[in-house]
Amino acid sequence: MSHGADTVTPVPERGTRTRAGIVTAVLVVALAAMILVSAGTGQLHIPPGEVFGSVMHRIGLDIGPVPAHANGESALWNIRFPRVAMAVVIGAALAVAGLLMQAIFGNPLAEPGVVGVSSGAALGAAATIVFGWGFLGEWTIALVAFASGLAATLVVYVMSRSGGRTEIVTLVLTGIAVNAFTGAGLALMTFLGDQQAREQIVFWQLGSLNGSRWEQLGVIVPPIVAALVVAVVLARRLDLLSLGEKSARHLGVNVELLRIVVIVVTALLVGCAVAFAGTIAFVGLVVPHLLRMLIGPAHRPLAVTSVLGGALLLVTADLIARTAVPMADLPIGMLTSLVGGPFFFWLLRRARRTSGGWA
């Protein structure tokens, strides 16, 4: 595509690609800046320069100042960085999970939170807490969340599709049904659990990055990175899927295999995201949608920028959650829903207007 000087119409193509490049660059800079600011913000203030210096010295480079405060280094590496890293990883996972669901549902309103996949995964996590499962150590909760998230994804997928895509009304109604069921399950877990388990389940439902630890990151980062790589690799095939399943097959795509892989990858991303941070809704809706408006619907640039955009959104949301109310740590899931709910509503209204109905 780069040798288009002699072709007739390379302009729009290149325009989109240039724009994707610019958006990527802006997101990288914004994310880096936001990480430095967020890590430095809290009861113990550390200027971004010192945060940067601390990271540089850790990786063996003698660049920038180290934190001036005696406890600065420890606050950064034991509390702030794991939390910021968790926000980056989970934001990326949720945004790409949303993008993948939208691709296989053929519907820009599909999102793990909306259709009940997040709460499905949360139900598994809650059961792990209440029943004290620990057959796989630290991994147990992530694995069970993945399994129940996968079950929820399959249920939604099988129930809501017809003719290769999902109508909005079917998708939303299926989401209501799945959320009702998982809500009842979570209520049951709350009822069965002891005081401590109840507090944990409530914490789950609200979603929070408070108390993130490096060990937790060790559990979720490898599967999430693997899933993100798969998403980028499959991107071009997902483009073809927007022509409908039959046309995609006539272009050489093994649609059945693609569907299965994407569903498993989606469940893996959501399961990992939910395992230690609870349900954080609408990231997968807002991020891909805004990016699609900026750089168009091609899935490869969308996947890459969604990783960055999701991370940026969640790092920012977490900073607000920690600092909006003095001495309080707001649940981040509440914040994203506060913004995402009205956004979803606006999208629904718009979709209704443009397609002349709920189709």
Binding site: M1, H3, G4, T7, V8, T9, P10, V11, P12, E13, G15, T16, G106, N107, P108, R165, R236, D239, L240, L241, S242, L243, G244, K246, S247, R249, H250, L251, G252, V253, N254, R292, G296, P297, A298, T354
Partner: protein, 294 residues
Amino acid sequence: MSAAETRTDVPAISAEDITVTIAGRQILAGVGLTLNDGELVALIGPNGAGKSTLLAALTGDQDVSGGSILLRGRPLEQWRLRERARTRAVLLQDNAVFFPFPVRDVVEMGRAPWQRTGRETEDDAVVDEAMRVTEITHLASRRVPSLSGGERARTAFARILAQETGVLLLDEPTAALDLKHQEDVLGLAADRARAGDAVIVVLHDLNLAAAYADRILLMDAGRVVAEGAPSSVLTPERIEQVYHQAVDILPHPDDGTPVIVPRRGRPAHHAERPGTHTASPDAIPTPNESEKRP
């Protein structure tokens, strides 16, 4: 062209005794068909005759309950999907695109089967040419949802052309198109056949079939009731029998191509004064335009 590379003595498609039964109802009852390189075959017949089901069976979209379908001499199910996509292209009736891709991106999707092959380098040139001949070059950066039905159909057709296969299966490619673009699309399909490709088209418009097809398969109630050159298949008696509509068939004054005109409450003329029929304001479009094209 692609046809030169894939041309062999083996027919592009040969189907024998295809039976399709859906929910206890027999949609196709033992249909056979051979499609050779260098010919354009039209599938015609009334609604519910089984044209689209036959085409879907030939593409592999519709499972058959009996019979065999060979693509280049090899059973359809033995083909690897990617390899099959380089051998034959399929244009479906439904050409919706779920996300707002620009037109050029959609046409480029037709190049997907050639990804990571030597022919990938031709992508830009092939896409440009496909867009030029379907007259959508000016729409390159337009998003698909903003297109008219006809523009969308031409975009889908350009994508099929960009796929550069020697076999084309087209399900009602002219359904959403105006008079000029109907002629253009079938003209392009006929060009491909003349260049050596094998083309099969489902059509509703008998005049288009008469003007462009080398061979016509007339279907009724899940069977092929007539097969052959347009002038031999399209007789007033047969059409009335299959369509339950009386027609007059007039030879076009220039080249004798059959022109089919439904009889609308008038006595039969049997081609003595062709001019009187074309005066009807809602007459079926005749292929006059195309006969004058180079």
